[in-house]
């Protein structure tokens, strides 16, 4: 039978962003898949070379609005390494709380998108409803829902407002009891299981070599989490688990992310108990010494890295961003080959695509 080439994108409901898959189909089976990205390329790294160090913080939150706090924190950390600044303890705990809240919120948005991909709009609306609670918490802390602009080089912008601990713990309790029932909509549905199991399998060796990172990598059996194995801020003070699965299919990636939400709630509770009093910000020199520094964090999508070069001036000489989705999308052909067109939303939904950070 003749093969058909279908362009899935750039405007497409499944895409979660602006990119194209040029798929070659033999009937319903995919024989070739070529990702075409670059629609959102803004030359972010070049722009940064003409901005002062504090001016880059709001720019970095626009790399991915879903996990904006992680990107701002990553940039702040990289700049602090370059400028040689030591962040006070209270600021570290505040940053950890904000980042974990951001992680839960990003995973909820992923769950909503997965629901629409598979045709269940009820899951979409339930996940978005819970996400609204978390966005309200963000507004209380940072003043904004999504592109939060909260970390600063040398600390955070402001201290936690009053009664913040009470509000956060209330929301976490609601998440763990009521929302757990709604996750069962997925887990107990044999339709969901039959659509997600044994789909898009990636083995352990392939995950390491081809650069799959984050929850998708942990679903293939690789036990590595930047928070635990290369700790930054105060992540080595907490007692939490890193969920790992062996199967490497779409359902394993789904389970890992769901479990991560509950582990983030654990971290937040422990952070509130251990947080000391003190200053939340220190003064920072304006000009950077000559040299290059690298920092990496665990983004909700995987391991993100920034490499900065200082030249003695007040703007960075080079700022390189490595986004986890950029490398994951290079795996598109491997993930899709041999599966049906109808499996494509399930596989791509389980990868959690975000195009802003991919194209920069």
């Amino acid at each position: 039978m003749a093969e058909m080439t279908v362009f899935l994108g750039p405007q497409h409901p499944f895409g979660h962003g602006l990119w194209t898959i040029k798929a070659t189909l033999d009937g319903e089976v995919i024989t070739d898949a070529d990702p075409i990205i670059g629609y959102l390329h803004r030359g972010w790294e070049k722009e940064c070379e003409s901005r002062l160090f504090p001016q880059i913080i709001p720019m970095s939150s626009r790399l991915c609005y879903g996990s904006s706090l992680t990107w701002e924190h990553l940039y702040a950390k990289t700049a602090e390494e370059l400028l040689g600044v030591e962040v006070p303890e209270r600021a570290k705990y505040l940053r950890v709380i904000a980042i974990e809240l951001c992680r839960i919120q990003s995973h909820l948005m992923w769950l909503a998108a997965l629901g629409t991909d598979l045709g269940n709009l009820t899951v979409f609306l339930y996940a978005m409803r819970e996400r609204e609670l978390l966005l309200d918490l963000m507004v209380k802390l940072c003043g904004q829902r999504m592109t939060t602009n909260y970390p600063r080089i040398g600390g955070v912008r402001n201290d936690a407002p009053e009664n913040y601990e009470r509000d956060v713990l209330r929301v976490l309790k609601h998440l763990e009891t009521k929302h757990k029932e709604q996750i069962d909509l997925n887990d107990n549905s044999s339709i969901f299981l039959s659509r997600m199991q044994d789909i898009g399998v990636v083995s352990k060796a392939e995950a390491c070599n081809m650069g799959l990172v984050g929850p998708s990598m942990r679903a293939s059996g690789v036990d590595f989490d930047v928070r635990r194995d290369d700790p930054y801020e105060v992540y080595d003070q907490f007692d939490y688990e890193v969920p790992v699965r062996k199967e490497g299919d779409a359902y394993a990636r789904y389970s890992v992310r769901i479990e991560e939400m509950y582990q983030s709630a654990e971290i937040i509770r422990q952070a509130f108990k251990q947080m000391p009093e003190g200053p939340y910000r220190v003064k920072v020199p304006r000009a950077a010494p000559v040299g290059s520094h690298v920092a990496r964090v665990e983004d909700p999508r995987g391991e993100s890295l920034m490499w900065i070069v200082g030249d003695g001036g007040r703007t960075p000489y080079r700022l390189k961003v490595r986004s986890p989705n950029f490398v994951t999308l290079s795996l598109t052909k491997k993930l899709l080959l041999g599966y049906r067109l109808a499996d494509l939303p399930a596989i791509m939904g389980s990868i959690d695509v975000c195009m802003g950070e991919t194209d920069r």
């Binding site: 058909m4 279908v6 899935l8 497409h12 409901p13 499944f14 319903e28 629409t116 991909d117 598979l118 045709g119 269940n120 709009l121 009820t122 609306l125 339930y126 409803r129 909509l185 549905s189 339709i191 969901f192 039959s194 659509r195 049906r340 067109l341 109808a342 499996d343 494509l344 939303p345």
Partner: protein, 358 residues
């Protein structure tokens, strides 16, 4: 008894009395009025009035079904749905007006004749079927002996037209959607037909009136045919292309499936045709399993509609809770699970008949 035919005849008589009275006395045209009042012409006019009344009734029922679906789906998803009018009832009228004034965009290289005619067949068979289902033993268009068989036959014309419509739009997505829809519909008609055979065995006739009368004499047929009820409801959801079986129309990959390139009122009519088919599927379920228009106190048409709405509520509930099933899994379910169940159902009915229970 005073049924729709008599009602229409009364209306036609009234109209002719007025018109011919004016023509005879004022203008003195006698031969034309004689021709108008002859039996053949009066018969045709009566049928036209009957058809208009039935179409109006079914149209309003379908609009109500759409409103029921949107409201119920909204509440399942924890949101208020339609807001226009009392309890949101007029939302469909507002949407209909919006659809009418939309710009119609037709792809340049679409095959115009197939593009227009295929969709006409799909919509036309839907409306035809809706008109052929009687609401009671006095509200019907024609009392035909073949009954349910011809309804199923017209039901199965749609897959061919959908396949051609999917090809005619010159779009790869619609082609894939059309092929999937055709495969799905054809494979789910076979279990439905087996269940029809079982019902006919129990009732002794294909005619709808006889089937309902048989249920009024003994019990409603869902008791001996409990397997058949379950199978039929699953097959009906698949025929009406609703979630969980709506992969031909799957938004996530195919945007709108085989209807992608139809715009404006064409799309509006396809949507309406979809709901007509859903109404027919639900009403067939009511006729075959739940006693048709049987019920105390209220007029039989109201009972029929209440039962149809209850079955449709079940279909909406399923739509709100489940994910989409993949095409090859849908075909597996149709051939490997539903067809054996339907045959088992037939076996049960034959056994009951042989033992003289029914």
């Amino acid at each position: 008894m005073y049924d729709l035919y008599s009602f229409s005849k009364d209306i036609v008589d009234l109209i002719l009395w007025i018109v011919c009275g004016i023509l005879r006395t004022v203008l003195n045209i006698n031969s034309f009025c004689d021709w108008l009042e002859s039996d053949n012409v009066v018969g045709v006019l009566v049928y036209i009035i009957q058809a208009v009344v039935i179409f109006a009734a079914i149209f309003i029922v379908c609009l109500t079904m759409i409103w029921q679906e949107r409201k119920t789906l909204g509440r399942i998803m924890d949101r208020r749905a339609t807001q226009v009018g009392p309890l949101g009832y007029f939302q469909n009228l507002a949407d209909g007006m919006k659809t009418m004034v939309k710009e119609i965009i037709i792809p340049d290289s679409a095959d115009r004749m197939a593009y227009d005619w295929a969709v006409t067949i799909v919509i036309g068979t839907g409306v035809l079927l809706a008109g052929m289902v009687p609401l009671s033993d006095r509200f019907f268009l024609a009392d035909y002996g073949t009954g349910l068989l011809i309804i199923f036959a017209i039901f199965s014309l749609a897959p061919f037209a959908i396949l051609i419509a999917g090809w005619a739009q010159n779009n790869k997505y619609t082609l894939i959607g059309g092929m999937r829809a055709c495969a799905q519909m054809i494979s789910y008609e076979v279990p439905m037909l087996m269940i029809l055979v079982a019902t006919v065995l129990l009732a002794g006739s294909l005619n709808i009136n006889d089937i309902v009368a048989a249920q009024q004499d003994s019990t409603w047929f869902f008791i001996p045919q409990i397997l058949g009820l379950f199978t039929f409801l699953v097959a009906a959801v698949a025929e009406a292309e609703r979630i969980p079986f709506d992969l031909p129309e799957a938004e996530a990959e195919l945007v709108e499936g085989w209807q992608t390139e139809y715009g404006g009122m064409r799309w509006g009519l396809i949507m309406l045709g979809d709901y007509f088919r859903g109404y027919v599927a639900a009403s067939l379920g009511v006729i075959m399993f739940f006693g048709g228009w049987d019920g105390p106190y209220l007029p039989p048409e109201i009972w029929f509609l209440i039962k149809v709405f209850i079955i449709f509520f079940g279909m909406i509930w399923v739509r709100g809770s489940l994910h989409r099933i993949r095409t090859d899994q849908i075909l597996n379910i149709g051939w490997k699970r539903l067809l054996p169940l339907a045959i088992l159902n037939l076996l049960v009915v034959v056994t009951l008949k042989v033992w003289g229970v029914y």
